[in-house]
Symmetry: C2
Subunit: 172 residues, 2 copies
Amino acid sequence: MAFHLLERERERGLKLAAVLEQAIQRIGHCSQCRNFSEESLCSLCASSSRDRQVLCVVESPTDLAAIEQATGYRGQYFVLMGRLSPLDGLGPEELGLAQLTERLGVGEIEELIIATNPTVEGEATAHYLAQLARAGGVRPTRLAHGVPLGGELEYVDRGTLAHAFGSRQLLD
Amino acid sequence: MAFHLLERERERGLKLAAVLEQAIQRIGHCSQCRNFSEESLCSLCASSSRDRQVLCVVESPTDLAAIEQATGYRGQYFVLMGRLSPLDGLGPEELGLAQLTERLGVGEIEELIIATNPTVEGEATAHYLAQLARAGGVRPTRLAHGVPLGGELEYVDRGTLAHAFGSRQLLD
Ligand SMILES: [Zn+2]
Ligand SMILES: [Zn+2]
């Protein structure tokens, strides 16, 4: 893209640069949920129609968007902007966990939905978050893992099949 | 393959045909679990080391193999050789459900693990099987569905994410 702009469209390139600069300078993080926001409190955190007793922790703004689109969730979010990853220099501090601990301690939140990815680092993060929740007297829950809908057992990886089998549920 | 054999390897082709014919004539179905078997009772059904109080229903021999490879399951199986699919002419009779009902009625089985695929037809079949189990006083269970391990929320389809979110579990 850069080459194309340099060669053919220097004027439009300059405009793009200006818009990008402005956006980067204007967009910060929501002071409450850490998601990207132009305001100090994002529209989701500011909304009076969201349930304040349920908080869903996600790794990224993309995950938040996916949950908003797929589910009818009406609670609030906390965006880690990463996951615990010591090798990448991402610890509790970088993920804003002091802020989360404080929020869990207020007593308003009843359930912490831990929606980190079911990867190795996401699971380690989930484990850590569950401990924070319990310490704050909050019930930690985790999204279900297993065979994806529409999937076929024979094409599912071994680990997922073993997990799905082991955590089978009573049908009622 | 057929062309290659006809042109280049008529002799080996004849041998292959003979082996195939023999295999097809020899391999029938296990009288108890309906899986392919050379004997009237397959080695799995005949084994004295498998738990007879748990029965796992699968759609196909491939699914049985996947579960055997991925899990430490030590119970027995029932292979539908398909799923309820009225448009394809597959009803309870074609899937051997009278035989399954009889087996559930004996009183030996305590849990029926329904491992049909989480597709539309697989779900309808699971629903039907759960009713059979309850009628026979057997506890029906179903493999967990949700986000596959190692997966990322943003790449999971909407239906699966909604289901995973809705059936979240308490972490303890
Ligand atoms: Zn916010
Ligand atoms: Zn058998």
